[in-house]
Amino acid sequence: MEPIMAIVVGCLYAAAIYMMLRRSIVKLVIGLMLLSNAANLLIFTSAGMTRGAPPLIPVGAMQPEGMIADPLPQALILTAIVIAFGVLAFAVVLIHRAYNIIHTDNLDQMKDTDT
């Protein structure tokens, strides 16, 4: 499973960077979205994937028996998803406002503050 996930994560990163390098601000936001998903899947993969072993402690026991899946990466990903969602909502509103004010979605024309 890990090699497949590794390839998926790599493709997501590549797609995200490609989208962010385009000129349209909409594609920029899509790139950011893919990037945060890639990072989440990377955490999921690199923390190790254990199949069919829920981290539950049997009744009466003090600690789980045998090998269990690590629940912490999922907690991390959940937090990261929530944060990414909030930030993304902001980014979408921002590009909408930016489009209304600047009247263009071309990043190359947003250079007034650069020089």
């Binding site: 962010m20 990072a39 923390a47 912490l72 406002r97 600047i102």
Partner: protein, 501 residues
């Protein structure tokens, strides 16, 4: 239990909540904001005193002992940074009394400002790497909203760059956390440091180290990914610019100091050497960028970049004296840079522009303000007897002792060019005659309470600069203490985990 570690986080969060509750009353929000900032300063001083007595102050959230729960850890560096945050909070809250416009206040200026402060303080105090990410995001979301208050064209353009680069850095940070967790299976920074020091050093550790360097380097506006800063910092309301200039990039610098002394200290010949080059290029590109500018706040923004280079230089040389210099530099820089931005706000109030070509005649009409500008400006350039001289002196002396001649030469040259930039602002905005096309009627306006509220924080911060310059010994002792702690990660690990590594 040590409540003083949690209080500096809780106070701004509570202040932010209370100002939200007082949504309809601007006056009440202002009062709450000033009172909340003063309380933050008091609690941060309590923390500093407590750290000076105990070394490390540790608090386990929910009584879950490390490494299982989230820990808050304050060592000397964190405590110094928190105190500086408190000072800046008070200065900005006072300045905002008269600088914040009603339209900004209506869109939640005060709640956002205190949320930002909570994020900044949280980043300084947490002992958990994922928690650090969360505090970064708290800080970022608040800063996004503050930056676009007003919604002008330049702000939108600046914000698109600011948001993109910062989100990119967050994604890299998150990926690095994921890889690090896969490697050591823990998130507590002390535990990570312990496990990494026991494990065999592999190439993957260096890869993760560089990922952290890139992520924090973007936040700190280090070369080569600094360009979001001069594109955005000068666009927001001036009090917001001042707050960002003083605190936000320094959170990135703090994170670099923390991570590259505590966690990634196994192969300094690779990581710290890389940082050394980053520092040199950051200094030189920042100052050259400033030389080409003719807008008050944009020059100052480029100088943030060049000054970040000095702090990184302190970390990169990685000798006790260099770390002392780096910490001293951070302390001096936060005060001075915030003050310069506030002064640019006052000249804007007087003449209605930030463009140096349109400014002028301030020295003739307002000599006191001009002297108040000279104190932080010459301090930034590093003239004795102001705080910047000692900060630069320590860093450069550390460079000479480490025989890093190229970087030391760059640091000296950049100091000279900084002086050039500051003299340019002095000559253009303060010394030369008021250009005919500029309306100078605001220049001689009477000293109203509204104007006095702008002067007050400037005078306080200039007094701090003079104090550090004339009486640097206690500040040096604090920096020395924090350098001792930073170079002895075993003390940090023992304080958090209770085991000797």
């Amino acid at each position: 239990m040590s409540p003083e570690v949690a209080l500096p986080i809780i106070v701004p969060l509570m202040t932010g909540t209370l100002t939200l509750l007082a949504w309809r009353s601007n006056i009440l929000q202002k009062i709450l904001s000033v009172v909340g900032s003063i309380v933050l300063l008091i609690t941060s001083i309590w923390l500093l005193i407590s750290v000076q007595e105990q070394g490390h102050v540790v608090m386990y959230m929910g009584n879950w002992v490390a490494p299982y729960g989230i820990t808050l850890v304050a060592d000397m560096l964190s405590a110094i940074m928190v105190v500086l945050t408190g000072m800046m909070a008070v200065a900005i809250a006072l300045f905002s009394l008269s600088s914040a416009s009603a339209s900004h206040e209506r869109f939640g200026y005060y709640p956002l400002m205190h949320l930002l402060l909570a994020g900044v303080v949280g980043s300084f105090l947490t002992g958990d790497i994922f928690n650090l990410y969360v505090w970064f995001e708290v800080m970022l979301v608040a800063s996004f909203a503050l930056l676009i208050l007003g919604g002008e064209r330049a702000q939108m353009e600046g914000a698109v760059k600011y948001v993109t680069l910062n989100l990119l850095s967050s994604a890299i940070f998150l990926s690095a956390i994921g890889l690090l967790y896969g490697l050591v299976g823990t998130l507590n920074m002390a535990d990570i440091a312990l496990k990494l020091s026991q494990a065999e050093h592999t190439g993957l550790v260096d890869v993760i180290a560089v990922m952290f360097m890139v992520a924090f380097g973007i936040k700190a506006a280090a070369f080569p990914l600094f360009f979001w800063l001069p594109a955005s910092y000068h666009t927001g309301p001036v009090a917001v610019s001042a707050l960002f200039a003083g605190l936000l990039t320094k959170v990135g610098v703090y994170a670099l100091f923390r991570v590259f002394t505590l966690i990634f200290n196994q192969s300094p010949e690779f990581t710290h050497n890389l940082l050394l080059w980053v520092a040199a290029f950051t200094m030189i590109t920042g100052v050259l960028g400033a030389a080409a500018q003719f807008e008050f706040r944009r020059i100052l923004s480029f100088h943030i970049v060049s000054q970040i280079g000095y702090m990184l230089l302190g970390l990169a040389l990685y000798t006790p004296l260099a770390i002392i210099g780096g910490v001293f530099y951070i302390m001096h820089h936060i005060i001075v840079k915030t003050n310069l931005f506030l002064i640019s706000g006052i000249t804007h109030r007087l003449l209605g522009t930030y463009d140096l070509k349109k400014l002028g005649g301030v020295y003739k009409a307002r000599p006191f303000l001009s002297v108040m500008f000279l104190v932080p400006a010459l301090s930034l350039a590093g003239l004795p007897p102001l705080s910047g001289f000692f900060a630069k002196f320590i860093v450069i002396r550390a460079g000479v002792e480490a025989e890093a001649w190229v970087v030391t030469g760059v640091a000296l040259l950049v100091g000279l060019l900084t002086l050039y930039s500051m003299i340019k602002i002095w000559a253009e905005a303060f010394w030369k005659k008021l250009p005919d096309e500029t309306d100078g009627s605001g220049l001689n306006q009477a000293m109203t309470p509204s104007l006095a509220a702008l002067y007050l924080p400037v005078i306080i911060l200039a007094a701090c600069t003079l104090f550090i310059g004339l009486n640097g010994q206690p500040i040096y002792m604090m920096a020395e203490f924090s350098a001792q702690q930073l170079l002895n990660p075993a003390g940090y690990i023992e304080a958090v985990l209770g085991v000797k590594p």
